[in-house]
Amino acid sequence: MKVDYIKEEKLLILRITEEIDHHSCEKIKKRADYEIEVHIPKKVIFDFNNVNFMDSSGIGMIIGRYKLVSLFGGKTSLINVKPSIKKIFEMSGILKLIQIEEEIGGTEFEKCI
């Protein structure tokens, strides 16, 4: 996972770079929780651009981080979600809580892409 933190906007971007299953989830959870607890961000974006596979383990993983981020009053969203993965999120109903964003505003964010 690659991590970017934009201090001015208190925006934490977690770019997942592996397939998401029960095995890889443990590592992703640990790293994400660490970054969230260190930065206490206002917003966390999970970037799925490099994720080509996800099973239902990913649902639990995202809900868990959403709860943690919300605890500190922050928001969680997802970007660059491929159709096969979106299908799984849609089935779970979590998109009522966590949005999939098409584009992200903010010049700072564009700089770091």
Binding site: E19, D21, H22, H23, K29, F53, M54, D55, S56, S57, I59, G60, M61, I63, G64, S84, I88, M91, S92
Partner: protein, 154 residues
């Protein structure tokens, strides 16, 4: 003649989470012989991943065990049987319900069986407490028919 398959394969591996990736890729590679679409391959990989994860965290509860996969290819479908000799499921109906999980402490979503059911065309779950669980799934491969049609036109 209904049960005549064109090809078959069997896999046996340890119930280690690193093998989740291996299992879904192996089954997907075998299924490519039916010329499935990318979406069908993604569906098969997800369903296999769910079933194998169930064997590891529910069947064997992260203890050492053996997971077996048996695949059969038919003219336009694949049948995948995934089994363990783990602790078994007490109430299959309940386990199959969406959002039900016996392992909420592990952040499991309870969507495993729901995903297998909706991504595959058939799902059968057999289980005996103390003996093990067997999940049988079938997926129709539709892309195959389209290709044949095109070939006829040419």
């Amino acid at each position: 003649m209904k049960n005549v398959y064109k090809n078959q394969m069997r896999l046996e591996f340890s119930s280690k989470s690193t093998n989740e990736n291996f299992a879904r890729i192996a089954v997907a590679a075998f299924a490519t012989q039916l010329d499935p679409s990318l979406e069908e391959i993604a569906d098969i990989k997800t369903a296999v991943s769910e079933a194998v994860t169930n064997c590891i965290i529910h069947g064997y509860e992260n203890e050492e065990g053996i997971i077996k996969i048996e695949c059969k290819l038919f003219a336009n479908s694949i049948e995948i049987e995934i089994s363990d000799n783990g602790k078994g499921i007490e109430d299959i109906e309940k386990a199959r319900q969406a959002l039900y999980t016996s392992k909420s402490n592990l952040e499991r979503s309870g969507m495993g069986f729901t995903i297998m059911e909706s991504f595959m065309d058939e799902l059968r779950v057999e289980s005996v407490v103390g003996i093990g669980t067997k999940v049988t799934m079938k997926k129709m491969i539709k892309a195959n028919e389209v290709v044949t049609e095109n070939e006829i036109k040419l």
